[in-house]
């Protein structure tokens, strides 16, 4: 669901231009309001939805779950760590609210503290292994995990 901007709510602050990882949020040169210049290149990360201080950016719901004329509005609340959705059909009778967690730990608390880790030795630097390998890819438990090593095999055909 790519994002779009309500021009009447946007005040052209440029926060979405700054945050967009796909660099598709830009300021209209004549109207000085933000717009999504290439919706089909939208990653649907909703960073702009989250960054907009005026809730001027929304998402366009896919037609398979919300028919034309609907409204899909979203609030990503960083401090609460939740994402809240409200999907309303054009007749106003179907009005759905959803709320889900987006983090269970405070932001940044699970980031590795690299300053606390001892500096890598020359041998480690020359090795082809990356930081925390092989521990993180579990190769220290005896090589790569394969279907065979786990007693599994590929089933032929399409599996549902």
């Amino acid at each position: 669901m790519p994002t779009f901007v309500y021009m009447t709510r946007c005040d052209g602050c440029g926060e979405c231009v700054d945050i967009c990882p796909s660099d598709i949020m830009h300021i209209d040169k004549k109207l000085r309001r933000a717009y999504n210049i290439e919706p089909n290149m939208c990653w649907e990360c909703y960073s702009c939805v989250k960054a907009c201080p005026h809730h001027a950016i929304d998402v366009r719901g896919y037609a398979d779950f919300a028919p034309l004329g609907h409204s899909v509005r979203v609030i990503r609340d960083e401090e609460k760590g939740t994402i809240a959705w409200r999907i309303k059909f054009r007749n106003g009778k179907k009005d759905m609210e959803l709320l889900a967690p987006i983090t269970t730990k405070p932001w940044g608390s699970a980031t590795p503290k690299l300053a606390d880790v001892p500096a890598p030795s020359k041998e480690m630097r020359d090795s082809q292994l990356l930081f925390n390998e092989p521990k993180y890819i579990r190769m220290d438990e005896g090589g790569l995990h394969t279907l065979e090593s786990n007693g599994l095999e590929i089933k032929k055909g399409v599996q549902y």
Binding site: V17, D18, I27, R73, G81, K88, T104, P106
Partner: protein
Amino acid sequence: MFTSNLFAELSAVISPTIMQGYIVLMILLVMGGTILDMLHKKSAQYFFENAKKAQKSAKRAVGGGEKASIAASVLVNEVLTSGEFSNPKRRLSHLLTMWGTIIFIVTTAVMIFCYPTLETPTPALLPQLWHIGALMLAVGGYWFWFFIRVDVAAEGLTWFRFERADLFILSLLATSTFALIWSFTGGGLTIFFALFILSSTILFGGVYWSKFAHMFFKPAAAYQKKITRADGSRENLPPDYDLTDPEVQRKFPDIPMYMGKNPPNMGLCIKAERAKHY
């Protein structure tokens, strides 16, 4: 220089009646331009249709007293102190420009109407306020034009690239700049006075093409936004959930399951630093 009424000194060359007539003409041009702008953009029609639509999805009725308190809060927060700007630099620049413009225009009108000639001595405070207003307008305006304007700050465009949308800020800047130069060069009927009048005529006469009219529809939009928050329609936004509320936890069991019954404050995340990563 800062304590003399330049318009009274000018009355020896230009009749005060002409100056007063010019002010009245400018007021009429602003009124006419605003009405044309409203008709062309259909902003009033959009506003009332939007308000009617919001009222349909209202969850509770907002009383007269509550409406009055919302109007008062819009006046204090949005109109007088430019509270809708979340960026403090934009807010400060807007405050300087807005209050500078008001002080500058009001003192000009008071000096021309109340103290039109040298026979009626002008209190020193009025010309001082006139200069302070023009200076505030110039400082806030140039700060905005060179550094804060979204084209320059967010889009990386050059400061000298301008569009019709810049008519308002450029004519404001030209008016204050030429007024100050006119004053510093001793007043009188000079080229700087002509430029001052030309830029102020463009400012007030160009309302239809510029964003001058925003001062009328922005407070109305801010009021409507606050009404939608009060009546529960919230412009179709999801409610502001209290995660510790047992009712919310019963409705959305994922919250207590993954976050606990009393979720902590998760921190500011992307709001921890200002948007400036270009």
